[in-house]
């Protein structure tokens, strides 16, 4: 049964929140705003007038129609759906963090600045870079910010006008080319080899005086760490361009190898992937970028700096500064501070050894799941993988007319969230699995067992898959109809009629 829209529960005179009683005379709206006062009641915003119990029941019902990491395995590839520790949630709600106004004197928020400084430092340490900006609000925002840093550095060299092209492998996330466009560059695609690696000859052929940067996700989106990495970054630098690491898959190599040691010039880190902050149903995340010494002066501001006491190495305090040749602001205030708090707690919980274990276990779990499925499913580029791997549903499509979408939907009936599907684009009928290090062994076994059952059903009862899911709050939805006739908000249909 579907849940009513909250607007349909509304009735005049109900409501939760009223302003406190005030001894002041009520505001004369007309006198206050003149011709900008809305005097026509019908022209005012109409919001639901509902009681608190109705709100709580409504949202409780809605939550019951959602699947999160706490509901079960959520092996959504390239999204790193790991467990979100609860102490992080408590920490960011402490009044000393949640109730800070950004315009209060930085001297009165030294705990917050210290936390930001330590996070800057720890992220740079973990990734092998010299400096960090915590400003970007998400991974794509980080990509854009780093590209603007490259643009400014190229301008300082007098090459911003000539270097206009950014090279991207065909396995890249869609945000890469979209960020390239937003940063005013043109993207050019580099093909992959049959092994799922960058075609280095094609990359070298494309590198020239017009190239500003090369963006690479490593490990890449088919779950392989590209062993040609040092050769590629060297070639990029020889051509006078910058090498960018999309850190969406940083979880695989955490504590094992650092992008900064692989020749990259910049990297974004998704705190909501690698550093366990919750995905929130689609954000808020945070996408800090880490860069080399050469690029540090161009970072967006403000960044936090440690102030040393005179003749002393101990910190006397922390302050905000703008890097000397900063690209400027990329958003308001200091970044998604509430997300930073959670990431800081996570890092302190794990420490160096715990962080290394994350990368190791994430990779082991992915390989374990891959091995359980190989043979029955076609593994694209079947070899030791990193934190994720890609299956191709193409053989099922050919043999039984069962597509990747059908397999994904059937998986819902078994109580699992499906993998990322139809990505990367270079694998036909792709299913991309990333179990993460926090998935228990029994859960990995159950997921594999469900997939193997589904593979059998594909042969014996394909209709069961075509019509899946069967056990979810709603079944397959008419997405084409939604796009053809967009209904993007509630309307009071009875009133219209």
């Amino acid at each position: 049964m579907s849940e009513p829209v909250i607007y349909d529960l509304s009735a005049p005179g109900k409501g939760v929140v009223t302003p406190p009683a005030s001894p002041l005379p009520p505001l004369d709206v007309q006198a206050a705003f003149g011709s900008y006062a809305e005097t026509d009641e019908r022209a005012r915003p109409h919001l639901p007038q509902v009681s608190e119990v109705e709100i709580m029941r409504h949202y409780t019902h809605l939550s019951a129609m959602n699947f999160g990491v706490d509901s079960g395995a959520y092996p959504l590839g390239s999204c790193t759906m790991k467990y979100n520790p609860r102490i992080n949630e408590d920490a960011c709600r402490l009044p000393g963090f949640a109730e800070l106004h950004p315009a209060q004197p930085p001297t009165s928020a030294q705990g917050a600045l210290r936390l930001m400084y330590e996070l800057q430092t720890d992220l740079a340490t973990a990734s092998g870079f010299a400096a960090t900006s915590l400003q970007p609000a998400a991974g794509a925002h980080g990509e854009y910010t780093a590209l603007m840093v490259f643009r400014a550095a190229l301008a300082a060299r007098g090459e911003a006008k000539t270097r206009t092209v950014v090279l991207i492998p065909d396995t890249a996330h869609g945000t890469n080319p979209a960020s390239v466009t937003m940063a005013g560059f043109t993207s050019k695609t580099i093909p992959s080899t049959e092994e799922g690696l960058v075609d280095v000859q094609a990359l070298k052929a494309a590198l020239g005086p017009d190239v500003a940067a090369f963006m690479l996700t490593n490990p890449n989106t088919v779950g392989i760490f590209d062993p040609q990495i040092l050769e590629m970054t060297a070639a990029v630098h020889e051509a006078g361009a910058y090498a960018y690491c999309d850190g969406a898959n940083f979880n695989a190599i955490l504590g094992v190898v650092r992008p900064g040691d692989l020749g990259f010039d910049a990297l974004h880190i998704n705190l909501h992937k690698t550093f366990s902050t919750p995905h929130g149903g689609g954000g808020p995340g945070a996408g800090p970028i880490c860069v080399t010494e050469e690029l540090a002066d161009f970072l967006p501001g403000p960044v936090v700096e440690r102030v040393l006491a005179e003749g002393n190495t101990a910190a006397a305090g922390y302050r905000f500064v703008n890097p000397p040749r900063s690209i400027g602001r990329v958003r308001s205030w200091y970044g998604n501070f509430g997300v930073m708090v959670r990431a800081w707690v996570y890092i302190r919980a794990l420490g160096a050894a715990g962080l290394r274990k994350v990368g190791q276990q994430a990779v082991l779990s992915a390989n374990y799941l891959r091995v359980l499925l190989e043979g029955v499913f076609e593994v694209a580029y079947n070899r030791i993988c990193m934190h994720e791997f890609v299956l191709s549903g193409a053989p099922f499509a050919k043999a039984y007319g069962v597509h990747t979408l059908d397999i994904a939907k059937r998986l819902l009936d078994f109580g699992f969230h499906p993998p990322t599907i139809y990505f990367p684009l270079i694998v036909e009928e792709a299913m991309m699995f990333e179990p993460t290090e926090t998935e228990p062994l029994a859960s990995l076994d159950a997921l594999a067992s469900a997939l193997l059952s589904i593979a059998q059903e594909a042969e014996t009862n394909p209709e069961l898959l075509h019509s899946a899911p069967h056990s979810t709050p709603v079944r397959r939805l008419d997405e084409a109809g939604a796009a053809r006739d967009p209904q993007l908000r509630w309307t009071n249909t009875t009133e219209v009629a």
């Binding site: 829209v5 205030w333 967009p486």
Partner: protein, 462 residues
């Protein structure tokens, strides 16, 4: 400690199943010379007891708005957040999910966002709203870029300087990429220079205008509700889109952007039930007219039916987005601020039509009480040109007392008052930008005015 869920014995069994002897064998593709030889110098491995104590200690090094009395705004306001909001936000089915790619198991997120879209559409008086942007500043940038797509052959965007420095700085950064020729119309003493703006709109060399959009504040950085209607009309006269940057709570009282003829309304949505959180995460709300629909940035949720005819919700019009359209996408945004949008939806449901008006009116009445009280001390004067102009619950006054504004503000903070935001010393002199929310009591305002007088007196004797 760590959050993995595999025992050492299980780990060994998994390795064996994969056919490897050692975990290190999993990383054969990494160039050996790049492998970390030493543990990273990162502090940690703390117990939860240690963590809890450390977080308490770090939080206590900050003075929060529960310690001081907050009269600061600038986009982030100390509004009351109804208690039920956090109880909903703590439901992990919401916060541990991701983008609702699988709608059959994401109806909670999808319907909540669809209701949020409805709320923003209602607030702004515009027919469509997206699922949220990062913040008010990036929402404004996205509005400018959208205008360039809607008015395809045009490249210029005019922005009033009274949007405030933070938003202008963000626009400049994005403008540096070259797609948009950003022209900032200098302020005429804290107000949009309407004559300069109209001249800039009129100055078209032969043929069609090359201005895609005009970006205007409603209210402006100093809290003034400028006379934007003639400027919206002037923008339309040359075929440019009119974009209003708004403060959400005030839209309960003011004429809505859509009713004024604006094509796009954006703003910082933190006031809608989100914690101040040192300035982030809040959210950027984004609403526009039907003509912009196919050029909108970000996610959109639509209503549809399933195979059994049951109502349900899906992400829709995705062919605008980066995962489909790649370099031709309307924006690079992927993760937005869904949980903050859920919060805003909860807040709007909690306050309702009448509550929103009541809260807005209460803030505005208290702001007037504070402003009158400060003017009565003779320590403050009105900024020339701003007398008698309408404002919301934030206002600017010029400080005419015996100290610098910085000195006064610092002394007041030591006494437990966050005396707004310092306005730089320009031709009209330095001042304070003060905001008053419904959380402030009349007694607090009275005490604040006394403190301002007392501290000015102390300073004059130093």
């Amino acid at each position: 400690m760590d959050y993995t869920a595999i025992s050492p014995a299980e780990r060994a069994a998994m390795l064996a199943r994969v056919g490897l002897d050692r975990v290190d064998d999993l990383f054969v593709d990494v160039p050996p010379e790049a492998l970390l030889a030493e543990p990273l110098p990162i502090e940690g491995n703390w117990s939860e007891i240690d963590l809890s104590a450390a977080m308490d200690a770090l939080a206590q090094q900050n003075t929060s708005a529960r310690d001081y009395v907050c009269f600061a705004g600038g986009g982030i306001y100390d509004h009351y957040r109804p208690a039920f909001i956090d109880h909903v936000l703590r439901r992990s089915e919401f916060f541990t999910a991701y983008t609702p790619y699988q709608p059959e198991v994401s109806q909670g997120t999808l319907q909540a966002i669809w209701e949020y879209q409805t709320g923003i559409s209602e607030l702004t008086g515009l027919p469509v709203a997206n699922a949220s942007m990062y913040d008010g500043a990036t929402a404004l940038v996205e509005a400018a870029f959208m205008a360039l797509r809607v008015r395809r052959r045009r490249r210029r965007v005019l922005a009033s300087a009274t949007l405030g420095e933070e938003k202008l700085a963000t626009l400049r950064t994005y403008g540096a990429a070259g797609q948009m020729e950003l022209e900032i119309i200098a302020a005429d003493r804290h107000l949009t220079d309407a004559d300069a703006l109209v001249d800039a709109l009129a100055a078209t060399e032969g043929g069609e205008s090359d201005i895609a959009a005009v970006l205007l504040p409603y209210p402006n950085y100093c809290g003034i509700i400028e006379d934007v209607k003639p400027l919206i009309d002037a923008a339309h006269a040359v075929g440019a889109l009119a974009v209003l940057d708004t403060t959400p709570i005030l839209l309960g009282l003011l004429k809505r952007p859509g009713n004024l003829g604006a094509d796009v309304a954006v703003g910082e949505g933190q006031p809608l039930g989100n914690a101040m959180s040192f300035g982030g995460p809040g959210l950027g709300y984004f609403a526009c007219s039907e003509q912009c629909l196919r050029q909108m940035p970000g996610r959109l949720v639509g209503r549809t039916v399933d195979v059994d005819g049951q109502v349900g919700y899906v992400l829709t019009l995705a062919t605008r987005e980066q995962h489909i359209r790649r370099e031709k996408a309307t924006s690079n945004i992927c993760s937005n601020h869904a949980l903050n949008a859920l919060t805003a939806g909860l807040y709007l449901a909690g306050v309702g039509t009448e509550g929103l008006r009541g809260i807005a009116a209460d803030c505005c009445a208290k702001a007037r009480y504070l402003r009158d009280g400060l003017l009565a001390t003779d320590l403050f004067t009105e900024y020339p040109g701003l007398e008698q102009l309408p404002f919301g619950y934030e206002f600017a006054l010029k400080y005419a007392g015996p100290a610098t504004v910085g000195q006064l503000r610092a002394r007041l903070f030591d006494q437990g008052w966050l005396a707004g935001i310092e306005l730089p010393d320009d031709v009209d002199g330095a001042g304070l930008l003060l905001a008053v929310t419904e959380r402030r009591t009349v007694a607090e305002i009275d005490d604040f005015i006394s403190a301002v007088v007392a501290q000015s007196e102390v300073i004059s004797h130093v």
